[in-house]
Amino acid sequence: MRTLVGLLTSNQALLQLEAARCLHELSHSEQSAVAEACLPATSYLLTYLSGHSSDFIELCLYTLGNLIVESEAVRRQLLPQGIVPALAACVQSPHVTVLEALGYALSQLLQAKEAPEKIIPSVLGSTLPQHMLQLLQPGPKLNFGVAVEFAWCLHYITCSQVNNALLITHGALSTLGLLLLDLAGAVQRTEDAGLELLACPVLRCLSNLLTEAAVGAVGEQMQLRDERVVAALFILLQFFLQKQPSLLPEGLWLLNNLTANSPSFCTSLLSLDLIEPLLQLLPVSNVVSLLVLTVLCNVAEKGPAYCQHLWPGPLLCSLLGTLAFSDTEVVGQSLELLQLLFLYRPEAAQAFLQQSGLQALERHEKEAQLQDRVHALQQTALHS
């Protein structure tokens, strides 16, 4: 290693490059002992990040990223060696390949188990957040590979709940919302299966950030209100259904967070005729059913004006279907929705009876978690 570091720091440029390649090879080892053997090189790898040779910097970044993943001892050394300011300086690079490598290295650093206490605060205190968001802005300069890396970086930061309010003041909700619209547009045009790699972290960030905005820490202008987001989300849900059904829960999670406290977004679901498409997702899986039903409850609980648009319609029939599911949670959520529907739209209870609703309820009378609600609904239906 001593020899390798000597070559890495020699003034023979080509030897330096080859030494860096050797280190990069070593960094792929899955043994943390090998990563730790590379410790003597890290101060130089960081120093070279402020250089200008883009291929070399890219190599150093991938090497650092790999070493970071493998060993906590490496991370413990890199932080006092100034990795965060070094990465922050790199983010100004005009080279797309460097930015992608930087995003990779940063995402590995942010994923470390000690990140919320030891790493994320200094990242948030640097200029990285603003630059990350700039690199996520849709437009002609958006590079997909770069955006993927930084979207994941942002996800690791937001789900750690360290200081999401700061991100919101930098316009994260607005940027990510616009990016979501852009993604939906791209999906419409190409159906490229790679787009979900970017969609996934964007959905996660938006969902988690929305919970911050609601706390009222943020001014009106920073909130997400654009109805196009709902349209975009459904276009992505349709895309997921065809290409990556495992991401449907993530998309529906966002839909829940958009609709839970927002009469406006609930109204959009109705005015854009999205209830029926939502119901088409029910058969996918129990997790998806549960989320769909939760979103529908979000709409129904807003009162009669909303339930008027839920019945007459395909909803009741779908609920009779979900009552036949064996999953207790799905059935439970169906019961919650029925309660809201019967409360705000009593005529629906009558139709329910006529469609053999009571029989559908009966099968769950003995289920401990469900029986109280089943009985309550039976009473309501009978008295309607």
């Binding site: 000597g6 720091t9 003034n11 440029a13 080509l14 490059l17 990069h24 792929h28 003597p40 101060s43 120093t47 402020s50 200008h52 040779s53 291929d55 050394q77 006092p80 060696q81 100034g82 300011p85 070094a86 300086a89 990779y104 789900c159 619209l181 939906a184 419409q188 979900e196 996934c200 988690n208 929305l210 919970t211 654009d226 109805e227 459904f234 276009i235 495992s246 991401l247 829960p249 999670w253 829940n256 839970a260 406290n261 009469p263 406006s264 109204t267 959009s268 109705l270 854009l272 005729d273 999205l274 609980e301 807003k302 009162g303 009669p304 019961l335 919650e336 309660q339 809201l340 309550a376």
Partner: protein, 253 residues
């Protein structure tokens, strides 16, 4: 999943929020035995909800990293020579030339011709080695700045700075870009191997493996195809070693 055409049209339209329908809740909604409350949900790190998406991310990265690791076939071009005055290095790939240029010719001190990996280190070098005002000021105030970007500490002496680099920033004691200023004496055939004080590790262990230490090359020294070892690399005790003459010398007593 069929989407109504209004959805696509809406996406293409302008920003705006829907005028909300009136909200009117009954206290019976979600009342016992029911329990529904509309609420936003947040998922923390490591939640199993993220498992599927995380797996896809991992697979994507494996692909990317494999591509990066596989040395790409760098396009060869007809051989050309570095155009910097006095440098004769020859190249047949542009990436090699780019790295050579940035390493040897870009951040070069115009006083002593040493090359540095970054503008930042070059600036510090010029200040500390070639600025006489610096010497004067450093007698009264801490002028030796920490080399780590983001650290604003300054020190009275180069040694103090080194101690800081080692203790606070876990830098190696023989960090190549923090050599203390050498005493400027006219060219002497002295040893130029840098097995010197700062190369000694914390335990006083001599770093002999650094024999490959390259003395800073004056830019423009002879370099042909990188094969010949430049004369400025010195092994052992000095360039002046040569054959001992077999002739008897006159010994003065």
């Amino acid at each position: 999943m069929q989407l109504p055409p209004a959805v696509h049209a809406r996406l293409a339209g302008g920003p705006g929020a829907a005028e909300p329908l009136p909200v009117e809740r009954s206290p019976k909604a979600g009342a016992v035995p029911f329990r529904f409350t509309a609420r936003q949900v947040r998922f923390p790190r490591e939640h199993e909800f993220f498992e599927d998406g995380d797996v896809q991310r991992h697979l994507y990265l494996q692909d990317v990293l494999t591509q990066v690791a596989g040395a790409p076939e760098r396009p060869r071009v007809p051989e050309f020579t570095c155009q910097v005055a006095g440098c004769c290095q020859v190249f047949d790939a542009l990436e090699d030339y780019e790295h050579h240029y940035h390493t040897l010719h870009r951040n070069v001190c115009s006083f002593c011709k040493r090359a540095f990996p970054s503008g930042h280190l070059l600036d510090i070098h010029i200040l500390e080695w070639h600025d006489s005002l610096f010497q004067i000021l450093s007698e009264r105030q801490n002028m030796y700045q920490c080399l780590v970007e983001g650290c604003t500490e300054k020190f009275k002496t180069s040694k103090d700075r080194k101690d800081h680099l080692v203790r606070r920033h876990l830098y190696p004691a023989d960090f190549r870009f923090d050599k203390p200023k050498k005493n400027m004496s006219p060219a002497t055939p002295r040893a130029t191997v840098q097995v010197s004080a700062e190369a000694l590790g914390a335990e006083g262990e001599q770093v002999e493996g650094d024999a490959m230490e390259v003395c800073s090359e004056p830019a423009g020294e002879r370099h042909t195809a990188g094969r010949r070892i430049p004369p400025t690399i010195c092994f052992g005790q000095g360039a002046s070693r040569g054959f001992k003459s077999t002739k008897k010398r006159n010994k003065h007593q």
